[in-house]
Symmetry: C2
Subunit: 207 residues, 2 copies
Amino acid sequence: MKRIADSTVRRLSLYLRFLEDFEQRGLETISSDELAQRGGTTSAQVRKDLSFFGSFGKRGLGYSVPELSRRIREIIGLGREWRVIIVGAGKIGAALAQYQGFAQRGFHIVAVYDSSPEKIGRSWNSQTIRDIRQLEHDTAREKPDIAVLTVPSEAAQAMLDRIVKAGIKAVLNFAPVQLQAPPDVTVKSVNMAMELEGLSFALTNRD
Amino acid sequence: MKRIADSTVRRLSLYLRFLEDFEQRGLETISSDELAQRGGTTSAQVRKDLSFFGSFGKRGLGYSVPELSRRIREIIGLGREWRVIIVGAGKIGAALAQYQGFAQRGFHIVAVYDSSPEKIGRSWNSQTIRDIRQLEHDTAREKPDIAVLTVPSEAAQAMLDRIVKAGIKAVLNFAPVQLQAPPDVTVKSVNMAMELEGLSFALTNRD
């Protein structure tokens, strides 16, 4: 398969949400125009995004809603359970540990870590916060797929190095710093200030 | 100015971070190659991104670091203070209200709202959580620029409608639902599950 851009994957996630909404409402087919309108893009873009994965839909009839959502789930890798650890039991970590949307999508928080003696041993929902010193030991045994990194900026690179060395191949980083990882590890960063900058740009460049 | 894609604005925010890092280290010039490498993109893309805003840099000499960062700040609208309100004093709201990175960029939290009698009146850092019933009254007087929406999904559209009616033109939404707003209002959504889906895609489609 060709290398797929991040922006394409994001749109697939978005299309999937629309398709699930259509499924719940009992609709059987959807056109690329409808998907484009909901997603704020063009129907040419929708057709291009879906064409990466072989041919979908019938000309003039649109896409079958259940078939297309099944196929996108498969492409994104949502047919299975993903084991997720949270590294850093601060405010963002707490918000994520309780986020309902994760389990619905097959992302299961299997452990939460911190280095602070005041936090270690405390309970968060069904999790007990673990000592970060257990990370390597636990990872070898429990084989989590994804680490969510919510430590302070100055600790982020060293912690990422540990996570990588422990064998985890996918990291979602919330520290507002650029991190270096080997090419076989995927690091995605969520930077809240950058999200707001998208808005300040929009406000500054209004017609 | 031409309509600029969201992905371009994101890259500009990212370039700005690299430039600030270079400035701190006392470097005077930077090439499109260096920017591309740090940003995980191509130098052709960097030149294209910057060309939207007129001509920068001298062939063979690269870009002046202070000039380029000044210009990008101007483009993104970071030369001023932005007044931000948080609507929804839950876990994500709490994490955002304490996020250091906002004030550094000129985003100032001026108010936090909730509807729960148990939360209203409580203190968060320098903020006292206000009654959501004050939203319209406060907004008319205090004129916030941006609303961060961190209410439960089922309340999000109705709250967005109120925010829009109160006259706010930019909203950062954390509820995992698609929201409808008039064309003169910019709504950006941060969806944590979608971020994880980018990782499950990467893990599923590894070579």
